[in-house]
Symmetry: C4
Subunit: 245 residues, 4 copies
Amino acid sequence: MPNPLDEAHYALALANRIVAYEGVLDGFGHISMRHPGNPNRYLLARSRSPELIEPGDILEFTLDSELVVPSDVLPYGECVIHGEIYKARPDVRGICHHHSAAILPFCITGNELKPVNGLGSVMGVTVPFWDSREEFGDTPMVVTKPEEGASLARALGPHWMVLMRRHGATVAGATLQEAVFRSIHTHRNAELQLRSAALGQVSPLSKGETELACAYSLRERPMGRAWEYWTTRLAKAGELPPRVS
Amino acid sequence: MPNPLDEAHYALALANRIVAYEGVLDGFGHISMRHPGNPNRYLLARSRSPELIEPGDILEFTLDSELVVPSDVLPYGECVIHGEIYKARPDVRGICHHHSAAILPFCITGNELKPVNGLGSVMGVTVPFWDSREEFGDTPMVVTKPEEGASLARALGPHWMVLMRRHGATVAGATLQEAVFRSIHTHRNAELQLRSAALGQVSPLSKGETELACAYSLRERPMGRAWEYWTTRLAKAGELPPRVS
Amino acid sequence: MPNPLDEAHYALALANRIVAYEGVLDGFGHISMRHPGNPNRYLLARSRSPELIEPGDILEFTLDSELVVPSDVLPYGECVIHGEIYKARPDVRGICHHHSAAILPFCITGNELKPVNGLGSVMGVTVPFWDSREEFGDTPMVVTKPEEGASLARALGPHWMVLMRRHGATVAGATLQEAVFRSIHTHRNAELQLRSAALGQVSPLSKGETELACAYSLRERPMGRAWEYWTTRLAKAGELPPRVS
Amino acid sequence: MPNPLDEAHYALALANRIVAYEGVLDGFGHISMRHPGNPNRYLLARSRSPELIEPGDILEFTLDSELVVPSDVLPYGECVIHGEIYKARPDVRGICHHHSAAILPFCITGNELKPVNGLGSVMGVTVPFWDSREEFGDTPMVVTKPEEGASLARALGPHWMVLMRRHGATVAGATLQEAVFRSIHTHRNAELQLRSAALGQVSPLSKGETELACAYSLRERPMGRAWEYWTTRLAKAGELPPRVS
């Protein structure tokens, strides 16, 4: 019988590969989940590109982003992004940090990302914008110190997605599956908004539409249909993570 | 000997996969056809992503979008789009509802979609524009109520394609094959028009050119050549639907 | 021992597949070559999508675009494009007619296509622009009548490529291989020019640079390197045409 | 036991294929490395498209770009780009010359390429711009004469990347791996900057951020993670170069 932690390792490897296969993550970026049995821990792979991650790559961290079992395996330099958000937001159980080519233009220009179709509404009514330069001045453009992670978590506040100036985005979810769904569909919304800008004035969803469409989209039916779709695409491409024996 | 209904199930699964493979449909959206033997029924898959659909997924609906054989299989939430158009338009035998990345920028900005080359003329001289907000106020940005479907069908009127503000497009055809042809070539026309907008002023086809080119394009030769092309591409990718035994 | 006509059939099927694989041709468009043994004939496939063409699909035409061996196989409706240009231009031995997504924006807006890098110079110093509406008024946006083909050939004049308003491009070559090379590299030049337009003012090659770069690019070394590259890519994708036994 | 020169041949073939697979190189362009045992020599393939190169294609050149072992194998016409830079810059051990579709728009418009995210900082604070026309007037838009290569090397100066007007880019690295990393990530930075231009004003990294992020990105961890990622992608696609026996 599979135990929940093995299942979590597999699910997290799968989530990494899905979000990479759908074009949001590339060689960099990462997805984590809160530990299924201990809310004071989170799971995140060792420093490796998302589309290559296997269940055996998953490490366990405290919310201070310390490895639970010390080892010489290298974690991501930016693991504090995950730890500080899990610490600040008990309702968050999945986080994706990425630098997608659709989201970056908004991070580079400061243009506001807005929901332009039903699925894009999962970004929520407000998407905060964080600029590391304001609090930390010149940095190597990575979030590696606990105080930087905590600053980002404060910027996220009660929302579900935060844009990072000249850097990327961090996307949270009430579940790992929701973080995946939100990462992919806000990426696609950004692509649509970018393409629309070539034509003229964008007409986004109203606040009411955003709230209604977000609630509708995060139900089991659309989330499940998308999960089957992404998993089958990965399977057809021969990219499912290996099962550990 | 294959019976017509089995053939229809296969053709509809094939149509879903073609339109997905050619980049118009993604994880969401759907194609239906009128029942080949009973004009008061239509066929549409259970709630599943188009590129995964198999003949065994196809369900039968009344024009009021009720399942003919009650079951606990989940239909698409938006099946009323299909039912209400089949009800209003006896000449329509295939319908595709989609959210393509080429069409959406027109739905998001309100810019007019126009035929810019011969094949694009299959959109017709007029492409109406429907905004759910006008009649229904804030909604979850899906068409799930019969009155919403009926409103969309009225907007479509005698035309063959309707744009849906901040949502997508619904494309009809005199046959399933024509709905597929129109979905793909209007998607490509939209992409061309979008790319042209980066260069300067678009010079669309005249009304006369549109009518002549539309009639020319919907003949058996170009439609058949395209069908062979799309089916062969799908076959080479190993993506033809399975034959039910 | 292979005879020259068999070799020509194979080369023409290969050329069709190369230009399709490299993204210039899609379900429509076609490539022809002058008959290797009889300058008053040309070879062109039956009406079929370019990426599917096999040596056995190749038909032989007079310069008046009549089938040499009458049959009930369907030729392309636009074969007169080829016949009329071969008639007017004895130095042309290969022709490609296409509707590429990079070239079309220039045909739709009337913006001038210009050489923006070394390989793009193979378009030549002048790329004429033909609008069927000027001489023929409203048409179905296809060139199916001998007088339409002759008008297009006059517009081409002594040049190597002609843009067709709201339609596509016709590209000629001193050899079949040159027509392929010119089709692909002018398509890529168009894509570069289109992408550059998003940034600012395009600075094209001077007339002198264009002439020098064109002569340099059409030598055996670059043409041969490209041919090996395209053929190998096709082979790796399993898309080489079958050899007839 | 593998000898260092065999390893260098393999590494250079691999580097060519990686940079091609990641979309920076196409049928043209080339990568070289300084000879691992003799700083007065460099290694570069015979005239062949990058994605096809095998270890057996690698040739050895003096810094005057003469073949060390005369043969009738054809070298690239532009090998002087490599020789002249290795001559002028003892700290350079890898060079890539390319014409990527993301970089070219900057070469065509003269718009300044700027670091817009952390990884893009590897272009350095200054990216010089070279226009062959200024010193040499009309040319075939290739760098084939030693004095042209030397002029380009002077333009590069102490920097790591130079844009070439209406031509492409030449990218150097302290190692072959660094040249690959810089070629791919500056290409992606260019794509992001181009896409951002459609939205509004680009806000690049500050000089301090660029310096810090560049130093951070060129460490072993990110370079190694990227190398594993690119090599695995190539392996999955069946595109690793053959090992010579």
